[in-house]
Symmetry: C2
Subunit: 432 residues, 2 copies
């Protein structure tokens, strides 16, 4: 990266922001009342004595009792949020190549609610009875075993917050899509609970010659992937819960493999079989799919870890800045290789970069929320973020990525995503 990064620039921006009082900026002082560009409308005058406890408008919903609870033993969002749903791509054969993206441009923080967690499956979503479900562990183990869900639940448990990302997020073809969700919505983050795979393998007596586990899902695609044994003996989990409750059917109910930082499809859902072997299976999903055709004609395969990446979610494509003045720039960053170390933001089309603030705690292989205060002067601008992870890896531009990978790759696009803001404040994909 040739561009300059000012490490102290976020602090500077915040100091500048605090000098320029938010409520007052761009507004006119009217006595003690303020009409600001951010802070709301001033009260026209102080309420008259005796009426000062009366708020300005008594809304209808205060005039009669509200809804009771009996009708919602399991709650749902407000009807006013009915458009915040998964972004389901039209014209894809549902049973073969279905995907539903998380509306990341509408979300805050790092936790994705279960109802909006992204989904991607290859044979539809099976309706599995957990009483009937079994996990078979066999191959190079001393004690081949079939587990019920109750067996799995009796093992010592652990919970960790991790992201999951599809390796085609987005695919390489000239980045299409209008919104952050169109581009990078095959990405979500949750608190997962389950069992250490290492513990289960040790209990079953994993043989030293085992170098891979072949994992198979109980869907109609019998999705199959080969997992290097090192990962299985590191932080891999057999997961049954997500954000406190049991997995949703779309996430592998009642049991999935979780390989923190590995590409999404390796985290096999509806997990029914683990076979310890000496060689990978070279299954469909690791040969004809999820490999990258390089300029020299070879295939880049078994690329397990998702590389460092970030995207600005607000402001992002499809949104609008309705007035100049203060706007927070915020987004999410992540890396399969551990923790995010730094996120830089440029508001001048990549000429200069400022360091964003990272939301604490920064967790390993989890989404990391970043924020930067920004004063928009009303002129057209291109904004973008780049992530740096704890290994020192820097998220590349799309041009940098294609200079290495060529133009025949399809998966594993972690390029910087720039957004264009026009003079009317409309935000669009600067690559489209």
């Amino acid at each position: 990266m040739a561009s300059k990064t000012t490490a102290a620039s976020a602090d500077k921006a915040r100091r500048s922001l605090s000098r320029r009082r938010l409520l007052g900026e761009g507004g006119a002082l009217l006595g003690s009342a303020v009409m600001g560009s951010i802070g709301g409308q001033a009260l026209a005058e102080q309420p008259a004595p005796g009426s000062e406890n009366l708020p300005p408008n008594i809304p209808d919903w205060m005039k009669a009792p509200g809804a009771d609870m009996g009708s919602q033993p399991y709650g749902t969002p407000s009807p006013f949020e009915k458009n915040v749903v998964k972004n389901i791509q039209a014209n894809l054969p549902q049973y073969i190549s279905a995907s539903g993206r998380t509306p990341i441009g509408d979300l805050d923080g790092i936790i994705t609610p279960n109802g909006l967690f992204y989904e991607r499956h290859h044979g539809g979503v099976p309706a599995i009875d957990p009483e009937q479900h079994r996990l078979m562990l066999h191959g190079l183990v001393e004690r081949p075993t079939i587990f019920t869900m109750e067996d799995i639940r009796r093992f010592p448990s652990q919970s960790r917050i991790h992201f999951l990302e599809c390796s085609g997020n987005p695919v390489y073809t000239k980045p299409y899509g209008k919104t952050a969700s169109d581009l990078v919505g095959l990405l979500s983050c949750a608190e997962w609970t389950g069992v250490s795979l290492k513990l289960v393998l040790e209990e079953a007596g994993l043989r030293p010659e085992a170098k891979w586990l072949v994992a198979e899902g109980a869907d109609a695609a019998a999705l199959t992937r080969s997992i290097p044994i090192e990962k299985c003996l590191d932080d891999a989990m057999l997961v049954y819960s997500q954000n406190g409750e049991r997995l949703r059917p779309q996430q592998g109910y009642p049991l999935r493999l979780l390989l923190p930082g590995f590409e999404g499809n390796m985290n096999v859902k509806w997990l029914r079989r683990l076979k310890a072997v000496t060689e990978p299976a070279y299954s469909r999903e690791e040969t004809s799919k999820y490999t990258d055709l390089m300029p020299d004609g070879t295939a880049r395969e078994f690329t397990f870890y998702m590389e460092a990446k970030s995207i600005i979610t607000r402001p992002s494509g499809g949104q609008q800045l309705r007035q100049k003045g203060f706007h927070e720039i915020t987004g999410i960053a992540w890396t399969g290789h551990g923790k995010i170390k730094r996120v830089d933001i440029s508001v001048d089309d990549g000429k200069s970069w400022q360091e964003a603030e990272l939301q604490e705690p920064v967790l390993t292989r989890a989404l990391t929320r970043f924020r930067l205060p920004w004063h928009w002067d009303g002129e057209p601008a291109v904004i973008q973020s780049r992530a740096i992870d704890e290994t020192g890896y820097v998220q590349p531009t799309f041009a940098e990525l294609t200079s290495v990978r060529g133009v025949n790759s399809y998966y594993h696009n972690n390029a910087i995503q720039p957004w264009r803001i026009d003079a009317q404040g409309q935000v669009t994909n600067a690559n489209a």
Copy 2:
């Protein structure tokens, strides 16, 4: 606390556990196959050559494509989890004293999914149009202001994970209830996103003589509480999102006050008004309700912070241990005063205590998941947990609590909750 705590006992229990191999315990070795008390059924024999890739049973759900996604743009749990819902107390007047408890005995980790977040309201759930909603900030401020939701959203944001707990969780009358949810289900935890209240007050020019903020909700009860200004200038937030998405209606959509660690009802939902004043309002919710009648006839009032507390959620009331041998004991601990420092567990009716493992990261004013490996010998037992927070405060027994508070108190019961396990493995409330 007179009982002995062995700080190193969790390590000891874990070492003992690892010596006693999980898969083998209580089971009979059959060649290389194991029928264990925890680890599942052994394969009767190795699969015959050529059939070794065939799992033992091909379930029906692998034989045809599963469900597509179009029908679930906002996902819901598996139909097999239909009984994991909020625990809504019968025979309470819905509009006056409604509550729905989180099924904490069925949940894992520390995040509560939004659909199961506990609810408690005094005038039903208003259906608020966010475009019409306003927050008025007035009283002892230089610039009284009315904010739209868009104004609020433009302020710099922050996200933090915090618990919320009702002060009547459970009420003091001899602890009733069969399950963990019956007793302590008015408790949940989420990642909240919103605006620092301190920032908004500074922008509005809070006057130095302001000592309290009176907060009012836009429900039919116009629920009103007085908040000490020190809390408003510390970690208080104006919250619009919960676990990534906008607040649910039951949680105050579109805006609530969040006062981390303060009793639930002070975290005013559907927030419409904040008035800076010199004295508290002495509203209904801080006089006739949410105060504790002490033995000397005085009322204990304005008890803001919830004290340290914990509960074992598995095994807990209504559950059953189906066989002796290994069982993990797990539960949740929390304190309004900061971080949980330690959780002790007794499996011998309080005679001795072992230190549990705390799930990392331990966060301030958030639920903390604890775990302890345990070998149940099949004999009747009483198990219980006690939390110690970073101030050194130790969760009391019910007897210790009533010795101070007397028998006329109703709220703020943070006593230790013991569970009785009988010889059949049935778990019941040892206080009932």
